[in-house]
């Protein structure tokens, strides 16, 4: 009986785990300073190490913007992202250039979202996690905490 209860509890807890992705405790200040002005400081687990390397090597043309950083910061940020990167078996391919929003995991998680929502001026871009997931920067992607009421 006891194992059954435990199994049930675990079953209930798993979906919650899947929506929690707190930023690593050792996140360097440079990551926040350099990477979270134009978009939020995406959790490293959202891309694989290989895709982060490609991203960091392509900052000169970062989705149309020159986002280059100086060499010490480039190294510090790249190694932080590599150390905490996500698993290819969970994420799937992120395309070329790699985009978090093109990973199989992202697409699967958002397949119920109608196209018109992505174009909503409050959302603007699929990379704007915080438009709907108000706790995204702290790693809360729970469906219960979605900001725009009609998206609940």
């Amino acid at each position: 009986m006891k194992p059954l209860i435990l199994t049930l509890l675990l079953g209930l807890a798993l979906p919650a785990f899947a929506d929690r992705m707190p930023p690593p405790a050792n996140t360097p200040a440079s990551y926040k300073a350099e990477c979270s002005s134009c978009h939020m400081a995406f959790q490293p687990a959202l891309l694989t190490a290989n895709d982060w390397r490609k991203t960091m090597n392509g900052l000169k043309d970062h989705f149309g913007t020159d986002a280059t950083v100086d060499m010490p910061k480039q190294q510090e940020i790249t190694s932080f992202l590599e150390r905490n990167a996500g698993d290819i078996s969970k994420l799937g391919s992120a395309g070329e250039p790699p985009r978090i929003t093109q990973t199989a995991r992202f697409i699967r998680k958002h397949r119920e979202i109608p196209v018109k929502y992505w174009k909503d001026p409050r959302i603007k871009s699929a990379a704007n996690c915080e438009a709907c997931h108000r706790g995204a920067a702290e790693g809360n992607y729970s469906e219960r905490d979605i900001l725009i009421p009609e998206l609940r």
Partner: protein, 134 residues
């Protein structure tokens, strides 16, 4: 002398947020005066630059594309939608208090919006406007 001023500002900038908007504006104004005798910063010219539309970038034709028409209001990144805190010092006391950070953002945004680096005169005018606007 200019190099000395720059060096002093650089040294103080190691202790982050060591500058005031006034100092940063003055630092750019001194640089501009070295190229153009008698230069003084103008908030009015700064505002004109803030509102000017350039043909370099369709998505961000002017500063207002992300920072809105009013520097005292929060903005939104034109592409990513990320919230941007107000540029005006009266609405956001952190603005223009770190020379290195100010330089970094003039560097990135002038290139992205105007398609070239901003001149010391433009930077000085811009800081003057952002320090005065309410």
């Amino acid at each position: 002398m200019r190099a000395l001023t720059a060096l002093c500002l650089l040294l103080t900038s190691f202790a982050s947020q060591a500058e005031t908007p006034q100092q940063i504006r003055q630092s750019y104004a001194s640089e501009a005066a070295a190229q153009q005798a008698g230069f003084t910063a103008s908030a009015q010219r700064g505002e004109a630059l803030f509102r000017q539309r350039f043909s370099n970038n369709d998505k961000m034709p002017s500063c207002t594309s992300c920072h809105t028409d009013s520097p005292v209001k929060p903005g939104q990144h034109a592409i990513t939608g990320k919230a941007v805190r107000p540029l005006a010092v009266s609405a956001n006391a952190e603005r223009f208090t770190d020379l290195a950070k100010t330089e970094k953002w003039f560097g990135r945004n002038c290139k992205e919006v105007i398609g070239r680096a901003c001149t010391p005169a433009e930077k000085s005018d811009f800081v003057a406007y952002m320090s005065e606007v309410r």
